[in-house]
Symmetry: C2
Subunit: 114 residues, 2 copies
Amino acid sequence: MIRRRDEMRLELKERMRDGEGTVSLLHLVEGSTMKNARLLSEVTIPPGASIGEHRHDAETEYYIILEGEGTVIDNGVPQTVHAGDVVITGDGASHSIKNTGAVPLKLLAVIITY
Amino acid sequence: MIRRRDEMRLELKERMRDGEGTVSLLHLVEGSTMKNARLLSEVTIPPGASIGEHRHDAETEYYIILEGEGTVIDNGVPQTVHAGDVVITGDGASHSIKNTGAVPLKLLAVIITY
């Protein structure tokens, strides 16, 4: 099956996970249609906006950074991320991500469940 | 945990799944380290090269097209794909993909297992 970009659902989330600003999620696949996964979405974080810190239990989230740069708090440790980096958060670990650059921070988010 | 691009393993596959040419896979995460997934890789298919037709049983593969264009045989039906499209293949369905454009066809491949 092929899904075209213009049929994908765009969701805007304000203060996502108690972060700042408005983050947009383009759902490449709807979570309810997947087995052993609940999110496969392109996430856009405008400059200065963020997704607040949160834990992942019984699942792992992968952030694949596509464009821009930001700061991730990776299980308590601040780290700078750029296009090409991958953030892996699961088994009770936590993360947050903030766009600290001048252009939109784009990433692909995948959540695989257990 | 953060994985940086320069620590990811690059694998070259000739005639992948009986396709043409050489396809490269940059393993963003090693399959052996994931639960309920066995591939999370950036795949580059040069112009004219392809991944041959193959089935996915007890798993679903998602191709997220990042750059370029190509032809997918989606469970028997040829379809053109471009950046932004997503190809979903699981539950015994088959697919192949060929770069029919003039620039490298790049996609993110995710295989979620059951």
